[in-house]
């Protein structure tokens, strides 16, 4: 059963190896003349101002939490889609209720402004 995935493992090993070789190639052949100004973060030619890592707007976290909710919903929908022909009407009604509940959640997030950017 799991043996079907062995070819994918071979591909992953080869792809990762290639990516590391490409990084190494650049380091082997590229010139290397560092100086302090060159090592500064790029800010369109200005001297860098303030720290490079700032706090991120809390809105992005909200989007991430919403994503996890709806992604789990889709994880439930996928196996349902495979067996829909066997479970027929019962499955359809159950999924309609499930999607309805999550849709109410989406509308709530929408109304409270979680999807707005200012």
């Amino acid at each position: 059963m799991l043996a079907e995935y062995l070819p994918i493992v071979v591909l992953i090993v080869l792809a990762t190896g290639l990516a590391f070789i490409v990084v190494a190639l650049g380091h082997l052949f590229g010139p290397r003349k560092p100086n302090p100004v060159k090592a500064e973060p790029y800010e369109s030619g200005m001297r860098p101002y303030g720290p490079g890592r700032r706090r991120v707007s809390v809105h992005f976290y909200l989007i991430a939490v919403l994503f996890i909710l709806f992604d789990i919903e889709i994880v439930f929908i996928l196996p349902w889609a495979v067996v829909l022909r066997e479970i027929k009407m019962v499955g359809l009604i159950e999924m309609a209720v499930f999607i309805g509940v999550l849709l109410a959640g989406l509308i709530y997030a929408w109304k409270t402004g979680a999807l707005e950017w200012e």
């Binding site: 994918i8 792809a15 650049g26 590229g30 490079g52 890592r53 992604d71 889709i74 707005e116």
Partner: protein, 335 residues
């Protein structure tokens, strides 16, 4: 596991990697030539006949570029980020069959690495979401505020459109009654799913273009406001890896769209000459790639708030609607 099997898998893996690498090199040239023609320019035509050696020249130039690592960067993550970004693009094609079984010199060959895996669609979804890590790590590790902003924006955009992308896959899964890519292609023998799932195909195209950060959804690398987004600090071969990841994902997404909605390797006379399979697939993929380039030449970039609103308020409800309608029709008509 015998040695012969291992060699066969390795050879197939090398072919898949070469398809992405060669495709990447010539897709950059294809894009520049097509864009140039659409803007009534000529495009790169000096290196070799029709500019065919241009990708080679670009590659050699990038190898001999200086690799800068900013002083404030997190060195290990800075080196790892391009690797994490490019590997998913290279391995996405593992579950896509390139053609039906063919018989050559008395042996039958199977043109695909692992397309018989019974959760092929899940594999595509899982692998394509790994690329987000590479981008957010690149943005954070650079220690540059534009890179960080680009990385975070990109992450929010990719997770938002991933929902619509996954919902678009549900239609073909329902019609085929299986998550195996082989079964989905077999289900399209008489009618492509793009005809049964026009809305699903449209959602897939939009979400896929957003997922691979291509114009008009190339928000994370908006040159005018973020200089280059998450890869602002990258140079030389590490920059080339990000570039390779973007074009590799473009190719992979075209392969996936052709397979899920346009019948994959199927076409006229496929049963008589199975070797036509890869040719049909190639034609479909090139058509889709042309479409993506065309989009870039046509549409201006979305504003970020419009982009997020479009993903959550239009594409996600439409995806859910498509799932429900398809489900009702399958249950009532018996599909």
């Amino acid at each position: 596991m015998s040695l012969a099997l291992l060699i066969e898998w390795s050879l197939k893996s090398v072919v898949i990697i070469l398809v992405i690498l060669g495709g990447f090199a010539y897709l950059t040239l294809f894009e520049r030539r097509v864009l140039a023609r659409m803007q009534t320019r000529i495009g790169p035509n000096r290196a070799g006949p029709w500019g065919l050696l241009q990708p080679v020249a670009d590659g050699v130039k990038l190898i001999f570029n200086e690799e800068l690592i900013p002083a404030q960067a997190d060195k290990v993550l800075f080196l790892l980020a391009p690797v994490i970004t490019v590997v998913p693009a290279l391995i996405l094609l593992a579950v896509i069959p390139f053609g039906p079984e063919v018989t050559l010199f008395g042996r039958s060959y199977y043109l695909g690495l692992a397309s018989n895996v019974n959760v092929g669609v899940l594999y595509i979804l899982a692998v394509s979401s790994i690329a987000v890590y590479g981008i957010v790590i690149a943005g954070w590790a650079s220690g540059n505020k534009y890179a960080l902003l680009g990385g975070v924006r990109s992450t929010a955009q990719m997770v938002s459109y991933e929902l619509a992308l996954a919902l678009a896959f549900v239609g073909p899964i329902m019609l085929a009654g299986s998550m195996s890519v082989d079964a989905i292609i077999e289900g399209q023998r008489h009618l492509w799913y793009v005809i049964l799932q026009p809305l699903g195909f449209l959602i897939f195209l939009i979400a896929a273009v957003a997922e691979i950060n291509r114009a008009p959804f190339d928000m994370p690398e908006a040159e005018q406001e973020l200089v280059a987004g998450y890869h602002a600090e990258y140079s030389g071969m590490k920059f080339a890896l990000f570039f390779m990841a973007e074009y590799g994902k473009m190719i992979a997404v075209s392969f996936i769209a052709a397979t899920m909605f346009l019948g994959g390797y199927l076409g006229p006379f496929i049963d008589r000459w199975p070797l036509l399979g890869p040719i049909y697939l190639f034609i479909k993929v090139v058509a889709l790639l042309f479409f993506i380039v065309w989009l870039r030449a046509t549409f201006p970039r979305f504003r970020y708030d419009q982009l997020m609103a479009f993903g959550w308020k239009i594409l996600l409800p439409l995806g859910l609607l498509n799932v429900v309608v398809t489900g009702v029709i399958i249950v009532l008509v018996g599909g």
